[in-house]
């Protein structure tokens, strides 16, 4: 099924992105090519829906990705005519097109200079600020990107997307405690986001298994990871990612032995006793094999999981089974 042009195309597979950008000529043809500036549009082109403009925005992104610059420019032109040159989102989209078409570092510097210029005129232009951070990160200037992001979060601390980006940047540098902190801020803003809970669990697990982590703090991370994965499962029935993480963590804890339970420090986070961990492990195994079985037989109502996730879960279960049967 072709993806809808109404959803942001960031997470699409290459095939889906290609299909989407191939829709572009049809979508461009279907709607009137002449967009009129605000006072005339009501009179001349009839009613308009917000979907149309959202569609253009998303088409720009996926067309740039697939290299169809012509269609991207056509979409951008219509957006510019409709919303004007100084609209913040349009400015950000124009920057995006320029970034995509830049051939060398010099041209990228040029784009960056333009962003700086816009920002010196209006420091609260959030779409441009975000583009600038993304560009800095893409050019490998991570420390600049981080400081710009921290600055953005200083005056806009409720931007969950920016916190999430900050966490990703820290993670790419191996700074686990900072990444976890930023992800926790996302959770403060979106406490019901089950995927963010699972993501935080994954971060904790990564931090716990990173080389050179003290045993005590590693166990704390593990305990926290169990809690996060459990919460994600609590928020979402049959959440493959949550059960996968839970199984991963409990299996590791069980294979490391029961010494964990004895270590009762005064810290607020201690690992649950071995019995509980075993039961969690069993639960996760049962649920995972349930999910894998159902989606292997393509049962109705179990087709929402992605193929890659199912394959990973099957591998995890397989690894678990082979040592016991031997």
């Amino acid at each position: 099924m072709a993806p809808s042009a109404l959803q942001p195309p960031t997470r699409l597979t290459p095939t889906a992105a290609l299909a989407l950008s191939q829709q572009a000529p049809a979508i461009l043809r279907r709607s009137v090519s002449t967009a009129y500036p605000p006072p005339l549009n009501k009179l001349l082109s009839g009613s308009e829906t917000s979907d149309k403009w959202l569609q253009y925005e998303n088409l720009i992104q996926s067309c740039l990705r697939t290299g169809d610059d012509q269609a991207a420019h056509a979409c951008l032109k219509r957006l510019t005519v409709r919303f004007g040159d100084h609209n913040e989102r349009v400015q950000a989209l124009r920057g995006l097109v320029k970034e995509a078409e830049a051939r060398n570092n010099g041209e990228l510097e040029e784009v960056l200079k333009e962003y700086n210029q816009i920002l010196s005129g209006n420091g609260t232009n959030i779409p441009i600020t975000k583009r600038r951070i993304a560009l800095l990160r893409s050019m490998g200037r991570l420390s600049d990107a981080t400081s710009a992001l921290v600055q953005l979060l200083d005056f806009s601390p409720t931007d969950a997307e920016a916190w999430s980006e900050l966490s990703a940047i820290y993670l790419s540098q191996g700074l686990y405690p900072q990444a976890i902190y930023a992800m926790e801020e996302v959770l403060v803003l979106a406490p019901n986001a089950w995927n963010i809970h699972a993501r935080l669990g994954e971060l904790q697990y990564m931090a716990a298994t990173a080389p050179g982590v003290a045993n005590g703090s590693s166990q704390q991370y593990m305990a926290e990871a169990i809690r996060r994965f459990s919460r994600s499962i609590e928020l979402c029935d049959d959440y493959l990612r949550g059960y996968y993480g839970l199984k991963l963590v409990t299996r590791k804890l069980l294979s490391e032995g029961a010494k964990a339970a004895k270590q009762t420090e005064d810290s607020e986070l201690t690992l649950p006793d071995t019995n509980t961990i075993e039961r969690l492990n069993e639960l996760a195994t049962a649920k995972l094999s349930d999910i894998v079985r159902h989606s292997a037989s393509h049962d109705r109502g179990w087709r929402g999981y992605s193929e890659a996730e199912i394959a990973a879960a099957r591998d995890l279960l397989g690894e678990d089974r082979s040592p016991t049967t031997r």
Binding site: Q7, A17, G67, A100, K130, R137, S164, D237, G304
Partner: protein
């Protein structure tokens, strides 16, 4: 299901129309009789109440229409957070279709996935490069 509910609703509508028509016929007949009776004897008319079968038909047809409409509604959305979230994860688009099989217009999958994909911070050059690599890989696979 859609056809069944529509048939039932149409049948109920037919019955209701029939009951209405009968009631109208009955009252016309009654008033006509009353008029002729008035000219003949000038005595007060009989009480103008509908016959029982018309009343019963009206009530039953209303219920049949109700049943048809209720059968035709789309499946109810889960109201518990974890059930709703689980439905999104487990069934994907399939769980959010109307009776004709089209995906709901407001279905977005997991609404929090934007916090992980971060469309405003997209690294377009990397995506472009990855896509070009993917195309090249596909071409070289075809060439083999």
């Amino acid at each position: 299901m859609a056809l069944l509910s529509k048939t039932i609703t149409a049948f109920g509508g037919l019955l209701l129309a029939h009951a209405c028509y009968s009631a109208r016929e009955h009252t016309t007949l009654l008033s006509l009789r009353a008029a002729t009776a008035a000219t003949l004897t000038s005595s007060p008319t009989v009480a103008a109440s509908l016959p029982l079968d018309i009343i019963i038909e009206t009530i039953i047809s209303t219920f049949i229409i109700l049943v048809g409409l209720v059968l035709g509604t789309r499946p109810l959305r889960p109201i518990e957070w974890r059930v709703w979230a689980g439905k999104i994860e487990r069934e994907g688009e399939e769980g959010f279709t109307d009776n004709s099989g089209a995906v709901d217009r407001d279905f977005v999958g997991n609404p929090f996935s934007l916090l992980e994909s971060r469309p405003n911070f997209v690294d377009i050059r990397k995506q472009r490069k990855e896509f070009a690599d993917w195309i090249q890989k596909g071409d070289s696979l075809q060439a083999q």
